[in-house]
C-alpha cells in the first residue's frame, strides 16, 4: 500500500529478506520496520495478553512496540535494525521465543 520514492531507491542495492517465510525485497540501509511497511506489512507482533496486533509507533527505538523475532532472536526492535541479505524475520507472538537462525 505504500509507495517508494523512486528518486531515492533507483540506485540503492536490493536486499532479499524472509518475513514469516515469504520473500520481501528491501533496499540496503532500510530498517526492517520500514521494509515491511513498504511491503504493506504493518502488523509486526501480537501482544501477550489481548493478542492484539502492534506495529511501528515511535520509529526511534523508545517505545519497544515493533519487537520481532529476527534471525532467531526475539524482542529485536524492527525500527532500529537494518535489513541484511537472507535475514529471517518473524512476527513475534507474545513475549517471543528463541528460534533457529536461518
Amino acid at each position: 500500500m505504500t509507495i517508494n520514492h523512486s528518486e531515492i531507491t533507483s540506485s540503492a542495492r536490493r536486499v532479499l529478506i524472509h518475513v514469516d517465510g515469504k520473500p520481501i525485497e528491501a533496499w540496503e540501509g532500510q530498517t526492517v520496520a520500514a521494509a515491511l511497511w513498504s511491503a504493506g506489512r504493518r502488523q509486526l507482533r501480537r501482544t501477550s495478553r489481548f493478542e492484539q496486533p502492534r506495529g511501528l509507533f515511535c520509529g526511534m527505538g523508545v517505545c519497544f512496540d515493533c519487537l520481532m523475532q529476527i534471525n532467531g532472536r526475539p524482542n529485536v526492535q524492527a525500527c532500529r535494525i537494518e535489513v541484511e541479505d537472507a535475514m529471517d524475520v518473524r512476527t513475534q507472538q507474545g513475549p517471543g521465543t528463541w528460534g533457529e537462525a536461518s
Binding site: M1, T2, I3, N4, H5, E7, I8, T9, S10, S11, A12, R13, W27, E28, G29, Q30, T31, A34, A35, W37, S38, R42, Q43, L44, T47, S48, R49, F50, Q52, P53, R54, G55, L56, F57, C58, G59, M60, G61, V62, C63, F64, D65, L67, R73, N75, Q77, C79, E82
Partner: protein
C-alpha cells in the same frame, strides 16, 4: 578502562554544538550516539550505505541548519572522538559509563560528562491508539526522510505544535495525500496570545511559511479540534475528531469521522531523563519544558558535579535553543578543564546568552499555547490500554490509584505500570498527569519512576562479554569506529 576528559552523550544539535565549542577550545571531546550518524532526530541523515543521488530537500530551512551545523562539526572532527552505534546502558559511580559495543560492552570513565539525549514525542492514550498505522509524526518523518518509504496514502496529522506543520508539509512534498492537520489550539486563542510570538520574527515567519505551503496545497487545518478515537480491523481505518473547548474537552455533538490509512499523532515532546537519573541528578517538573528535567545552573551544570545537561533532554525548547545550550555547556566545561580562561569564557558566552534569551521568549509563548490540558486526560474509556507494554487498561490503573497508590512508584508495584520493555517512557508522563488530576496533587509534588541499568535491552550473553581491558584492543575498536 578508557578515561576521557569530556564525554558527550548524544550527537544531536546540543551535543554537536558542545563538541564544536570544546574542540575549538583545544580539547578532544568524545561523543557517543546510538545512531549510525550525527544529527540526532531533527537533523537525521539518510543511511550512508545507500548510494543514491541526493533527493530534493523536504524541509528547507531545517535541513539547511542541519547541514550548516554538520559543516562546523566536520571542520573540527579531527579533534572529536566520535563513537556511533553505541548506547550508554548504565552510569556508575564517578561517571563511569557502561557503553554497548556490537555484541559486547565497555566502560568509559568521564571526568566531565554532558548529557544531550534529546526528547521523544508525547502521545497520551486514547481509544485505538495502539492500532498499527497510528504512529508519531516523528516516526512518519523518519520514514519519509531517511527510509525512502511513505507512511501512507491517506494520512491525517494531529496533536499540537508547529512540528505538525513541518511533518504535514514534508509528507505532502513527498507525495502523500495529507487529509488535514488537526490542531488542538484554536485559531482564536493563537490570535489572542500570538503577539508574544513576535519575540522572534524569523521563527514566526518560518511557521507562516509552512502554513502557506499547506494552504497552497489545499490541506485543511482543523484548529480547536482534538482526536477522540481511532478504529479499524487490525489496522487503523477511521479516525474521529471533535471540536474542543479551551481545556481541550471535546464537544460530543460536534465530531466527525474520516477514513484514513495512517494517523500521525503527537502532543509535543518529553525530555529523555534516564541518563540524568542514572547519574543521580536531581529532577524537577516543568510543564513548559515537557515534564521532568534535570535541575541545572546558568552554565548547564546539573546538581551532580561534573555532569552537565543541554538540549531537549534538559527541557524541550527545540533545536535552535539546543544548539545554544550545547555551546554554553561546551564553553563551561572547557573552562572547568582549564582549556579557556575566564575572560575568553565570558567573551564567547555573552552572544550565546543574548541569542538564547530571545529564543526562549519565543518558546515561552509557544509553550503556553501548546501546554497539555486536562481534556486530553479524559479521552480513555474503561477498556483503553494506557500502558502499551503491559497492556493495562484505564480501569485497572484507576483501581490502583483508588486503592491508595497515589504516586507512580507505588502504582507501578501495584499494577505493573511501566514494567515493560519501554520502562515507562511511553506511559509514565501521561499517567503522572492522570494521577495528579485524579488525586488533586500538584505536578511538582510528583516523582518519576526509578531508572535502573541496563536502560537498553541487553542479553545475558552480551553482558558476559565486556571488552578486554587491554588498551590496544580498545584503541583498535576506536580506530575502527572513527574510520
Amino acid at each position: 578502562m578508557m578515561r576521557r576528559d569530556a564525554v558527550i552523550i548524544g550527537a544531536g544539535p546540543a551535543g554537536m554544538s558542545a563538541a564544536i565549542a570544546m574542540a575549538e577550545a583545544g580539547l578532544k571531546p568524545t561523543v557517543i550516539d546510538e545512531n549510525a550518524q550525527t544529527g540526532g532526530q531533527i537533523y537525521r541523515q539518510r543511511p550512508s550505505t545507500r548510494n543514491h543521488r541526493a533527493a530534493p530537500s523536504h524541509n528547507g530551512v531545517v535541513a539547511d541548519r542541519g547541514a550548516d551545523l554538520r559543516r562546523r562539526f566536520d571542520a573540527v572532527s579531527d579533534r572529536i572522538e566520535l563513537l556511533c552505534n553505541r548506547q550508554v546502558w548504565g552510569i556508575f559511580e564517578s561517571n563511569r559509563l557502561a557503553v554497548t559495543a556490537p555484541h559486547r560492552w565497555q566502560m568509559i570513565e568521564a571526568e566531565h560528562l554532558l548529557l544531550a539525549p534529546g526528547a521523544y514525542e508525547y502521545v497520551p492514550p486514547f481509544p485505538g491508539w495502539t492500532l498499527p498505522g497510528v504512529l508519531t509524526p516523528g516516526a512518519a518523518q523518519i520514514m519519509t526522510k531517511t527510509q525512502a518509504v511513505l507512511p501512507g496514502q491517506r494520512v491525517l496529522v494531529a496533536g499540537t505544535g508547529p512540528f505538525l506543520l513541518v511533518v504535514a508539509a514534508a509528507l505532502h512534498e513527498a507525495g502523500v495525500n495529507v487529509l488535514g492537520v488537526v490542531e488542538a489550539v484554536s485559531r482564536a486563542e493563537l490570535l489572542r496570545c500570538g503577539w508574544r510570538l513576535f519575540a522572534d520574527l524569523g521563527l514566526l515567519r518560518e511557521g507562516g511559511g509552512y502554513l502557506r505551503k499547506l494552504r497552497r496545497a489545499g490541506i485543511p487545518i482543523y484548529d480547536g479540534r482534538i482526536i477522540v478515537g481511532a478504529s479499524g480491523d487490525g489496522e487503523v481505518s477511521h479516525v474521529k475528531f471533535a471540536a474542543c473547548d479551551r481545556s481541550w474537552r471535546p464537544k460530543k455533538n460536534r465530531s466527525q469521522v474520516i477514513e484514513v490509512d495512517t494517523l500521525c499523532v503527537g502532543y509535543g515532546f518529553v525530555p529523555r531523563t534516564e541518563l540524568a537519573q542514572l547519574a543521580g541528578c536531581q529532577l524537577r517538573w516543568s510543564n513548559e519544558l515537557g515534564g521532568w528535567i534535570p535541575l541545572i545552573d546558568a552554565g548547564q551544570q546539573t546538581t551532580v558535579r561534573g555532569v552537565w545537561a543541554a538540549g531537549d533532554g534538559a527541557g524541550v525548547a527545540g533545536a535552535l535553543v539546543a544548539q545554544e545550550e550545547g555551546t554554553l555547556a561546551g564553553l563551561a566545561m572547557a573552562r572547568q578543564l582549564g582549556a579557556i580562561d575566564d575572560d575568553c569564557f565570558e567573551a564567547r558566552r555573552r552572544p550565546v546568552v543574548r541569542r538564547l534569551a530571545r529564543l526562549r521568549r519565543f518558546r515561552a509563548a509557544l509553550d503556553s499555547l501548546s501546554r497539555i490540558r486536562v481534556g486530553l486526560d479524559e479521552l480513555c474509556t474503561d477498556e483503553t490500554i494506557v500502558c502499551r507494554c503491559e497492556e493495562l487498561t484505564q480501569t485497572e490503573i484507576d483501581k490502583g490509584i483508588d486503592a491508595g497508590n497515589n504516586d507512580l512508584r507505588s502504582l507501578k508495584v501495584a499494577t505493573r505500570l511501566g514494567m515493560g520493555p519501554c520502562q515507562g517512557r511511553m506511559c509514565a508522563p501521561a499517567m503522572a498527569r492522570h494521577l495528579a488530576w485524579r488525586t488533586g496533587q500538584a505536578m511538582d509534588q510528583s516523582t518519576p519512576l526509578q531508572v535502573r541499568p541496563p536502560i537498553v535491552p541487553l542479553t545475558l550473553g552480551d553482558l558476559a562479554e565486556p571488552v578486554s581491558m587491554d588498551l590496544p584492543v580498545q584503541e583498535q575498536m576506536l580506530r575502527e569506529t572513527i574510520a
